[in-house]
């Protein structure tokens, strides 16, 4: 049986997302696929997994490396967020990152990526303001873009806080 659940997580809340997926798995629902806030789960009361999410640039070598270490690739989102699972009863490390330095580097990668995305968002909206007539459609688009900007700012603040914590 497959069930779907809709959840939205801020990218910086990766630990919350991991915990949610792991909790779902302990109830017998195992995460399979992610698409725009929709999570698909397969039911199987016999199994239990630990979930981890890695923000990284992937390659074939990257996936085979994680696989060898016991982490099965489940799905990826935006080509940067990679979902991995490992059987809960399997021995070994239960986390992808085991020291502060590497955790900090992963937050830095995320910050850099989202700064680029933010710049792209700003650039893509430049045309809107250059041809501004105050048309209702334009206002709607501007409101949407403003919402996006607010989301990005929230994300940057929370990533900055994380970096300070790891220092």
């Amino acid at each position: 049986m497959t069930i779907k659940k809709i959840r939205l997580f801020l990218a910086s809340n990766i630990e919350k997302e991991e915990k949610w997926l792991t909790d779902m798995s302990s109830k017998g629902f195992h995460f399979q696929k992610y698409y725009f806030g929709v999570y698909n789960f397969n039911q199987n009361p016999e199994e239990e997994y630990i979930y981890q999410i890695d923000f990284n640039e992937a390659s074939q070598e990257y996936f085979s490396f994680y696989k060898e270490a016991g982490w099965k690739h489940v799905d990826s989102s935006m080509g940067r967020f990679h979902y991995f699972k490992k059987r809960a009863d399997q021995p070994g490390v239960k986390k992808l990152y085991t020291d502060l330095e590497s955790m900090k580097e992963s937050v830095q990668r995320m910050l850099q990526f989202y700064l680029m995305m933010f710049l792209l968002l700003i650039c893509s909206q430049a045309g809107l303001f250059l041809t501004w007539h105050g048309h209702p459609v334009q206002k709607a688009v501007a409101a949407l873009a403003a919402f996006g900007v607010v989301l990005y700012l929230c994300l940057f603040v929370s990533l900055k806080k994380k970096l300070q914590f790891y220092k």
Partner: protein
């Protein structure tokens, strides 16, 4: 096993890399011999008697960074699974040696201080 040197060596001073993080120190210790990534993970667990366990994310990131710094280098090995193999460079050996000496002096200082307090 066929192998040859891969990548350029940088003319950095080994001192600038000290002190090493615990993870980095054990990775270098494991790479005194040519190994692929997963074998590094296993060796670190073995030589630390299970006290140091590296997550794959930490190890993967560290290998990339150490290679960029010229402390380790990739070695071409014919491998059915196309795994990447690494070994210490000359700089890496110097870094490991210096760090080992640094740790020894830390231990000897600590012993002296703790010993005096016990007396």
């Amino acid at each position: 096993m066929v192998r040859y040197n891969w990548g350029e060596e940088m003319s950095e001073q080994p001192e600038v890399f000290l002190p090493l993080s615990q993870a980095t120190y054990y990775i270098l210790l494991a790479l005194r011999e040519c190994r692929h990534g997963y074998a590094v993970m296993q060796d670190v667990e073995k030589i630390s008697e299970g006290s140091v366990a590296l997550g794959p994310g930490t190890l993967y990131g560290a290998l990339g960074k150490l290679q960029k710094q010229g402390i380790i280098q990739q070695v071409k090995v014919i491998d059915a699974d196309r795994r990447k193999y690494y070994v210490l460079t000359d700089l890496g050996r110097e870094v490991l040696d210096l760090e080992y000496k640094r740790i020894l002096s830390v231990v000897s200082h600590t012993k002296r201080v703790m010993g005096e307090e016990k007396r």
